[in-house]
Amino acid sequence: MPESLSRAIRWDTVVGALLIVLLLLSFSTVDGFSNALNLSFLIGNTLPIALIALPMTLLVVSGEIDMSVASTAGLSGAVMGALWNQGMTIEAIIPICLLLGVVCGLINGLLVTRLGLPSLAVTIGTLAAYRGIAQIVLGSDAVTDFPTQYLDFAAGRIGDTFVPQAFLPFLVLLAIAVVALHATPFGRSLFAIGASEEAARFAGIRVKRQKLILFTLTGLMASLTGIFWALHYASARYDNATGLELSVIAAVLLGGIDFDGGKGTLGGAIAGVFLLGALQNVMSLQDVSAQSQIVVTGVLLVVSVLGPRVARQISVARAGRTAASAPVSKAPTPTS
């Protein structure tokens, strides 16, 4: 099989193609899909997942995982609400919340890199801990009265177009993340770490430091998402974004990021995020029940890993057949 072809059927490109096909089909056949309002809803509701998917992809590529992202988001929303209730200015609150996210990420990172604990276990722990702190901070309050210009920014769109205002900053972040992962030495070292941590260490890559940076970035982005969430939905509660981590992970997996580390592209991950988002939007418009949507998500996940596998096996079998059928050259005559 020619290289270009086998490269073209890489799973991340398949996901991207699926997304495009889905969009085109929906535009022409699904009532209410193509109008600007719906598209802005679609994008707006998918943004929190997409935002967290950026650092999560990098983290997973380097062989780690952060289950606490949704809790960090919830915590930063809760702190934002609590401080707002105290009468602080929103302009002061947001940096504080971002800093808090950095601290949350740093804690995860330190536990993983300094103590050498498995990140899955650590972050399942902090998943509970951060959410618990959020509960302590905000209790049963639901803070809703944030200033309108912020709410409008988080929920509004640019004029009458389908583009939410918050989408442009997201695109900037996406571009930064793509460059960081795919075009910098930092990103390159993440792939190496994910594929073989020991070999990366022997190549002089500062594995622990890179991981610490990543966890910290993830915390930062999670708290940014928490702020966005609270403003987008005009509601800061301690249980904001509960369960978001699974959505992020499902989307990232769908985008072809290998959880063993060392493989995947950000483009694929983001395509996965929006594929799931668009699919849910379309299914809702088509009156597919929530339960059936869950099944579809599950089937898609299974197919996303079985598909490339089957494709590869078929292509290997085909390549094997052509090679085997090539004439075997005569063994050279022995020299003695």
Binding site: F41, T144, D239, G243, N281
Partner: protein
């Protein structure tokens, strides 16, 4: 000079809901579509409520649809379903809000697209909907539950509350009224020792009940103003040595609680009829679309033979809850 809470308060006073004028005699429109959006689909309570709404709509010659998230804490899911209903251009939607604030933007969006919004069971902020159909006045619910339990324990002893989530809006209002009721001198020998939260999760409610009993060995009674909590507490009590000794009351459905009433774990509990709640929500929605009401205080409309008056902030109340006990429980099936 940033923006603080105070600034926001000052800028956003006034601006209540709904303009226009009500015409009580307008004809009831037919062929409408009303979308029901419960907190969670598949939740038995909401299913009965929505079934009630469906029946009422059928009677009124309109059609019904139900959408909703499969988790009761998936607020963003609920928001996107509001959006979906808006996209599908239903005539009205009946929403039970997971969060008073989170749905606001989307609901306002819907109202600006000429869709009438009724909340039922759980309200949003008043400016984000046209009317709220309340299951019973919060005050009634809070006070009667205390009265029920006080009778069962002979107005004496320690009691506790097992609530749902700490953020559950309804429960918190009811609990406030319970505390207020307890201030009455006739309850002077009753002491509320703790409010525990089981998060509407069977297992957590179970363990919270255990904890209450271990922490307060002299506990005489528990009020659980949530159908999940009371069921879990009843199941725990009925399998423990506390059965019959510690009284339990609160809000539960007759089907859930039948067994525990019969085996002596529970004497009496209460609830409104969720089907009626759903029906009233549907009727209110149709009345709003038909222009018979706009949601202003004082307007009246007829639904299912009864006349309802809209109270302050657009709240319509279903009436008093029903108390279930061994004598009457077999007459109910929901």
């Amino acid at each position: 000079g940033g923006t603080t809470k105070e600034d926001v308060k000052n800028e956003s006073t006034g601006a209540a809901a709904a303009g226009g004028k009500a015409d009580p005699n307008a004809a009831t429109k037919k062929g409408l579509t009303v979308g029901f959006l419960p907190k969670q689909v598949n939740n038995p309570y909401f299913t009965s409520a929505d079934k009630g709404g469906e029946a009422a709509l059928k009677e009124l010659g309109s059609s019904y649809k139900e959408v909703g998230p499969s988790s009761a804490t998936d607020t963003s899911g609920q928001v996107s379903y509001v959006n979906t209903l808006t996209q599908q251009q239903v005539d009205a939607m009946a929403v039970s809000a997971q969060d008073p604030g989170a749905l606001c933007t989307a609901l306002k969006q819907a109202m600006s697209n000429d869709i009438k919004v009724v909340t039922y069971d759980s309200d949003t902020n008043p400016e984000c909907r046209n009317a709220f159909v309340s299951q019973a006045s919060a005050e009634d619910l809070g006070r009667t539950e205390v009265q029920l339990l006080a009778e069962q324990i002979g107005y004496k002893g320690e009691i506790a509350i097992l609530s749902a989530a700490q953020t559950a809006t309804n429960q918190n209002i009811w609990i406030d009224f319970m505390k207020d009721e307890l201030k009455d001198p006739k309850y002077k020998d009753i002491k509320l020792v703790k409010v525990a939260y089981g998060n509407d999760d069977a297992q957590q409610s179970f363990q919270q009940t255990q904890g209450l009993l271990q922490e307060y060995p002299n506990l005489k009674g528990i009020i659980s103003p949530t159908t999940v909590g009371i069921k879990a507490a009843a199941q725990y009590l009925s399998g423990s040595k506390y059965k019959g000794k510690v009284k339990l009351t609160g809000l539960g459905t007759p089907n859930d609680m039948r067994k525990y009433v019969k085996n002596g774990t529970v004497d009496a509990f209460e609830l409104w009829d969720p089907a009626k709640l759903g029906a009233l929500a549907a009727q209110t929605a149709v009345a709003l679309v038909s222009g018979q009401i706009t949601g202003k205080e004082g307007e009246t409309f007829k639904a299912g033979g009864t006349s309802y008056t809209i109270g302050k902030d657009g709240v319509i109340s279903l009436g008093k809850p029903t108390v279930f006990d061994a004598k009457n429980i077999d007459q109910f099936n929901f």
